[in-house]
Symmetry: D2
């Protein structure tokens, strides 16, 4: 099968996540990057394109023009990856969707709820798919946890404990990554909330198979002068009575990228940590704890289908990210063939993106009300 | 030095914590158990006393009579351990304190705030010490963490994350231990809150060297028919702006006795877990994580003084518990000699007990107000 | 029941293992230390005795006189703990055994094989028990592992991998502990081999339920001027075809007291590490790994009978050591009552001590033959 | 830069390592697979090629013909990956080298020493590079360990402990992977020795920066009827007096792919395990243990240059494998440009392959001599 022709918006020199998207798109051979508007600065766009081997004639400094031109080419991009800061997600996404070009977009969905709604409306009308890279749902053992919970392995859920702790913003930081993330104009109303809180929220929803109906959030910017939050302590309540806690922090020294989820039901518990992604702890109440390994004994089909190598051969962040791209490829190819998305193919959608936006908004609202409860 | 003559109230057949206290009292040879009112049922009191080798003439079925008689004996008890259910702490404690007999009392302080206040008043007037067995503060590496924070190793505290998760009450349980703990008449207004939440709260205060000024608590009884909480999700705010989360649960399958604390400051972080008590993780921001071991490289005097064996020779729960008794012994001997409590001797006091009672009361009040904020 | 009257030979000021024995003897109340020849230097014997509260009239500076006098007292010691350097085990042990006083002796058995044989002969004739404190066999999960293997949980054993690594002798050390251990006159022919190699060997034999029939040992003294080995790399062959490796080192930086055993059979595997003694990994071939906890789900009676507190409440080195004393107490009391040692009571004996001596001798012989095979 | 045109020999349907090589080659965009002799069965060759999207005209069923034709094409392969069973390494490698086509070859080097020598001779004469995929040397923290040792962080090496344990051959297995590996005609004289022992040996040499001068190996085939070893217990001696142990096993239940190395010097120790590849333990003697993370604090340039994402974002087996390909690409491009291999570019060579062959041969010889010492 020919690789899907991919374009990219953002991800020029100095960007981090752009190169992750490119590697993820390339890993399984499902995509080929053929065009890009990697920067809005012409010089940087050109240099960035050259660096990664793009055809100069398909290296743009304006994503609008790229959308127009590529849509007209017979060999134009079939899908586009949008890897710009949050405030630059909605406009290009709408532009490409309008032209029937599938969109693979970094999270959070947008900077503002208004943009999110416009994007949602555009996506609804478009003849193209929208895939959101909540990449942590691509880990095989996250799929395993979700499947085990769905089939009742831990009984009825009572407790969801999720946390995402980093330390890179412990002090004031001046670099490209830090700056736009703490600038309300580019990041939106959430700092850590938007950057990593949405990941934690999404992961919890994905694994538990449900979303809270209300939350109360104590939100803080610990570093003097920081305009957006760098820490959020959140309580959650689920329909049916389950409870949860979510902690998102970028000021917790000793934590590199410590996303961790624990779910407890009336029959058992599960625990997974992103920094040791090839292990899943499973406890059936009253029995010894089991250590499930990626693609090892006890692996369910939902997990095995996103594994590349046998147990004991660690897969990591990039493979999980690539799994989202692999799922996207399968969905896109089905759509191109006029078929429904194949059974089992699983990826985060606009609806997940909207949920994330509601999560951030609810936290900020709650924070303004002295961490009072806000309905989601 | 002669061992201190110890009596015990509670701790008869079928009790768990009574035997822990006895072992802790005996471990370092500081105490000798010579009298007991181990049960209020005469037959059980007699049998329980015989089982542990008490002189029948000093085996009582009434702690009041025990207090009276022992106080009159020349070789009467110098200290008494109170290891009854919560509602039976205050009365005997007051009785012994009144007679100048030192009291070592299990936690939480009492079942009700009213009792707690009466006990506090009695202790104030008494010529005897009151020691509360918040035993987890006896772990050497808990002492190490406290000392490191006190001397500024992690800078100014921003975040306190503490949790105490167990699973033994996941289902309805009918045994002596479970029953009194979920009976408001004996346990008080807190279930998991009183039983383990107070430990978590006390540990956080001990390590961080500060207490929150307000909290918001989402409190639940998950098991049908259970009269007291079995789970509490709590947000905390500290004077000066630090924030915290506390989770106490007895319905989290896969957790035996998982008390864990993490404290993050603007210069570093510390992490300790009770089930691996001989390890303390220390991160100075921007440097590799260090694994400090009990009595190993980097051990501070505050930790070394409560170690019995070199690093690599694990000490555990009983040693930590015995450390509280060892501290009590030093304090009692100093008092008997008319001296102040020696420098460095550290044990939980009535003031810690009152703080625990306030914590439980605040949680329950908060829960009634839809988890609104309550000042401590 | 009255505690057994215990004496002690060795363990004066500056000694480490003496205080461990005393604590272990006291922990469960089975023994009361009433006499001691803690040092052969009169002044130090006196001071050491005073420090630990011994009656001055039963504080000796000569174990021979102690044996004689105590044997004649009606309330004389019933058992004696011998905690001297290796070369001072045999003579006092024989002296006390001869008088019908039970002996609890530190390992290795003796400094020389000749002494070991004399001691064995004396023990054979004596009306008293000989207990060797290979204390690591006292850990509940070591008992669990042994019981699981004995009942076939891992099938037929193929591989035994055992190691005991420390780092305290990485450089030249001048202290009491280090000096006698590296002095052939006091330690015997083995350095690390005798001090910790015998523990590793004994643990492997205890858990696997079998001893090798031959070994090949590459033995080294890495530190210049050291007269005895500080590292031994050993291959082992078992009757029936199983194979093993044993590594004992006191020059492995980063290892405090890292004794670890893994046994693999044709149906499963087990793994235990002394520094995390409350965990036992169990793998049934083809199934997820299980983490068994001390006194937790899956605990066998052989392990439960040596537990004091529930799972999640860590027990450690001292509890394991005290378990040997508790077993000794049960054996001694049975013997005093004219009964056989009760079912289940398990402790290392002279035969284990002799096996340890043969192990050291075989290693040293092998080393002399260029690490050739030596039959055990 | 244009990707290097790659061909592949072996790796057809049902193969495992072939797809790993393809993914590794593709991950960073350095190679493009354009031709293949994926199987010697024409039908399978054709189907396998079609499956992975090869041009049918460049899908061969005979690697000899492939070598000839591709060498004549202007756009012929510049490099070839050889991923056949061991006995099919030498002949195709020689064929391609002869034509100036660079060879990337799976390990072990060959099935027999005779083949190895012929290959070495051919490589010497060829105007093309030979890269051996001892992929575990591609892990960033393995590079870190090597660099730390090279600059003296642990002082002078005394001990090397390396092990590679798997369990997939615990019972008799009938599948393609198992069968050729236990068939002397295809695997050579080593079973576990060749398959994973060579990896362990190579890793130890890479990290320690030195090779043993002699070894003694106790080699076993535990499963009845197995013609090649499934377990090897090996002692090693290094020039200068360092000692080592190597354990390779495919019959150790509970081990998926447990390659682990520990190196101890007179100033410190290092420990790394392949199943947790983003962690490296470092102990400076007398200081607390440090946990170094991939691309985290303390990362050296030698490690950073082979990292793709920041610390906390786990990289794994495929990234490490791809690092070998990335190094190969840099070396090939330099060669094509007439330049020396750039500084820092590091990959296993023929000389490593020969060392592995000598290791296997020495083990087998030693085994025949009752595990006597054999000079390497």
């Amino acid at each position: 099968m020919e690789p899907i022709r991919l374009g990219m918006v953002g991800g020029g020199q100095g960007a981090l996540i752009g190169s992750v998207h490119r590697l993820a798109a390339r890993m399984d051979g499902h995509f080929r990057l053929v065009a890009g508007a990697l920067s809005s600065t012409p010089e940087r766009a050109r240099k960035s394109g050259a660096e990664i081997g793009l055809d100069p004639s398909r290296t743009y400094d304006d994503w609008k023009r790229m959308a127009g031109r590529e849509a007209r080419r017979k060999d134009g991009v079939e899908a586009v990856a949008i890897v710009t800061p949050n405030h630059m997600h909605a406009a290009p996404a709408i532009e490409f969707l309008k032209r029937g070009i599938h969109v693979i977009c970094d999270k959070p969905l947008t900077a503002t709820m208004a943009e999110a709604k416009k994007l949602a409306a555009a996506a609804e009308k478009a003849d193209a798919l929208f895939i959101l890279t909540h990449n942590y749902t691509g880990y095989p053992l996250v799929r395993q946890a979700r499947a085990m919970i769905a089939r009742g392995d831990i009984g009825q859920i009572r407790l969801v404990q999720v946390e995402y702790a980093q330390d890179w913003l412990t002090h004031e930081v001046h670099n490209k990554q830090a700056e736009w993330r703490s600038d309300p104009a580019r990041a939106g109303i959430g700092g850590a909330l938007g950057d990593i809180g949405t990941h934690a929220y999404n992961l919890a929803a994905f694994v538990a198979g449900m979303e809270p109906e209300a939350l109360a959030a104590d939100v803080t910017a610990f570093v003097a002068g920081r305009k957006l939050d760098d820490n959020a302590n959140v309580l959650m309540r689920y329909p049916g009575g389950a409870k949860g806690m979510l902690w998102a922090s970028q000021v917790a020294p000793g934590n590199e990228n410590s996303l961790r989820i624990r779910v407890f039901g009336d029959q058992g518990g599960l625990e997974w940590a992103q920094e040791e992604p090839n292990k899943l702890w499973f406890s059936r109440f009253g029995e010894p704890k089991q250590l499930l390994t990626r693609n090892g004994a006890g692996a369910l089909p939902e997990a095995q289908r996103v594994c590349r190598v046998p147990g004991g051969h660690p897969e990591g962040y990039l493979e999980a990210f690539a799994n989202i791209y692999a799922e996207a490829a399968q969905a896109i190819r089905a759509r191109q063939a006029g078929l429904p998305v194949p059974d089992g193919v699983t990826y985060p959608t606009l609806s997940d993106g909207l949920a994330g936006m509601r999560f951030v908004a609810a936290c900020v609202t709650s924070a303004r009300r002295n961490a009072g409860w806000v309905t989601l």
